[in-house]
Amino acid sequence: MNKHLIIDSAKCTGCGLCELACAINKTGQCQTYLARIKIWQEETRGFFVPMTCQQCDNPPCASACLMNVISKDPVTGLTIRRLEGCIACRACQLACPFEGCSYDYLQEVLVNCDHCEGNPECVKYCPTGALRYISTAESMDLERSAEAGRRCGLAGLVKGDRR
């Protein structure tokens, strides 16, 4: 996999545009509960964390699946599902610590983020840049410069600093 969906929760304002964009793109309905990305709203303490499928290397949802419909795509590295085999038992939802599996009430199956075939809708609509879809090299670059900035006493000033 060469590109990742990077979530920077420090920039998230909890506006919910990513949820709406996802739901509209995937189901045609303007309902946040149909989205495959969910924002964890910690309103009293004032922070918001978007949560979605992390595309794990050895996904616990795949080993929990009762119908063996979840697998890793050998080319893209995404966690993919054979939806016609899903019986909506919700075992994958129970196995995933990241709330990555969401129930699609229209098709009556469980779904996860599939990066919209390499063009994620949520990233296009994110107004603050909390969601980014960048390559591994680029994200490592940003991490490295941010860490360097922190060590020089420039915490929060360097581009890409997540704190």
Binding site: E42, M67, E84, I87, C89, Q93, P97, E99
Partner: protein, 415 residues
């Protein structure tokens, strides 16, 4: 060239075969199974009975796929004897030699030997053949004996098909091995609202009828019915293995170490037929669940190929769909932990109900009704054996909580 023989064609056997193929393209694999069918999901059988899942959808593989993966199949063959000194398997038709053997024979549903248990109209639900038999028999009034997850699911499926259903359970609550008293009562109320008769604390004494089942006699009453479905437990298929000298554990399964090795060199076992270790308590347990079987299959396969892989232990994880309401149980319940000192975190909000069992500041089990989000985090915390004080330390600090954000959905259950 060594070859690997797998007895069985269930979750554990297929996951073992796939893992071997993933790591070694050349080693010959032979799979032997009694049923002449490709792999199917046993967990979806009640859904198939209710009509929610098509019969063809049950099958996970197709027969040609085995050959494509380079697996030789000997389906429809029953192994009668295992010769461990010459490393061969003897059946009625042929003799198969092995270098490494993986036993994944699984389990079978039992019908207790009460009077009338051999009349026509007595069924179990464990294989696709049982589904066909039940559907071919005109079921109108049915008694389900036993209320484990299969019992409840079968009762619901037949009720959806329009049958009159009675559940008879020996213990004082339904789902006694999975849920505690309070959640079990809530589930039983859902079932009663839908018109299923639930009789707990009753023992089936016999079945009466002339050739066909006509009534079930319990110690309290006699119930008129035309079908009896036994969901009263399973027995491990270990006869051939134990005759060959493979050691059995106290619970009746094959005894294995954490590398899935039996006491005989070159023989591994996995799946329903073994006795594995519980992840949380460390005691031996029979884990009859699909995810555990798949994991054990992988471990057995890796050790068979000479790679050291250790099994972390079985953990129970049951998701029941009761008329659209999700009931979840994970880990242990308070009946198992009866002798320990446990703390119960309980909460409810109208239809929703949750209950977390805490021992030594660690989560040992959780049961919920009507909740489906936020449970994955609790499951992960339970498996990681994170203490609750550590959990609260992280979630109380906004900086840490944002970094370890997956803790947050579990917050409302653990307060």
């Amino acid at each position: 060239m060594k070859n690997i023989v797998i007895i069985g064609n269930g979750a554990a056997a297929n996951s073992a075969a796939e893992t071997i193929r993933k790591h070694d393209f050349e080693v010959p694999i032979v799979m032997i199974a009694r049923e002449n069918l490709p792999e199917y999901s046993a967990c979806a059988l009640p859904d198939c009975l209710s009509g929610w899942v098509d019969r063809s959808k049950l099958f996970i593989k197709e027969l040609p796929e085995y050959a494509q993966m380079g697996i030789q199949t000997r389906f429809g063959l029953e192994i009668k004897q295992i010769d461990t000194s010459e490393r061969k398997l003897i059946s009625d038709q042929e003799t198969i030699y092995y270098d490494k053997l993986i036993i994944a024979t699984g389990s079978r549903a039992i019908i207790p030997p009460v009077p009338g248990h051999d009349l026509s109209g007595n069924f179990v639900l464990k294989t696709v053949g049982d589904i066909d038999a039940i559907l071919a028999y005109h079921v109108r009034k049915v008694v389900v004996v036993g209320s484990g997850n299969i019992g409840i699911e079968v009762a619901e499926a037949l009720q959806i098909r329009g049958c009159q259903v009675t559940i008879v359970e020996l213990m004082e609550d339904i789902l006694p091995r999975i849920f505690d008293h309070e959640p079990a009562g809530r589930i039983s109320r859902i079932l009663i609202d839908r018109g299923i008769q639930v009789l707990t604390g009753e023992k089936v004494l016999g079945i009466s009828g002339d050739q066909r089942v006509e009534a079930v006699t319990t110690d309290c009453r006699s119930i008129i019915c035309d079908t009896v479905i036994w969901a009263a437990g399973v027995k491990q298929n270990v006869e051939a293995a134990s005759a060959a000298g493979v050691k059995l554990g106290k619970l009746g399964g094959i005894q294995v170490n954490s590398f899935m090795q039996t006491n005989i060199d070159g023989i591994y076992a996995c799946g329903d037929c073994i006795e594995s270790m519980d992840m949380l308590t460390g005691y031996p347990t029979l884990s009859l669940l699909w995810p555990n079987a798949k994991r054990q299959g992988q471990i057995a396969a890796l050790n068979c190929l000479g790679q050291k892989a250790e099994y972390e232990g079985a953990v129970s994880m049951v998701v029941e769909d009761i008329y659209g309401i999700t009931a979840v149980s994970m880990g242990l319940n308070s009946r198992v932990l009866a002798r320990e000192e446990i703390r119960v975190l309980e909460g409810q909000n109208r239809e929703l109900y949750w209950r977390v069992l805490v021992m030594d500041d660690r989560i040992m089990g959780m049961q919920t009704i009507g909740i489906s989000s936020g449970l994955g985090a609790v499951m992960a915390l339970m498996k990681k054996r994170t203490t609750l004080s550590e959990f609260h330390r992280v979630t109380a600090d906004p900086h840490l909580a944002r970094r370890i954000a997956w803790y947050l959905p579990a917050q409302r259950f653990l307060e």
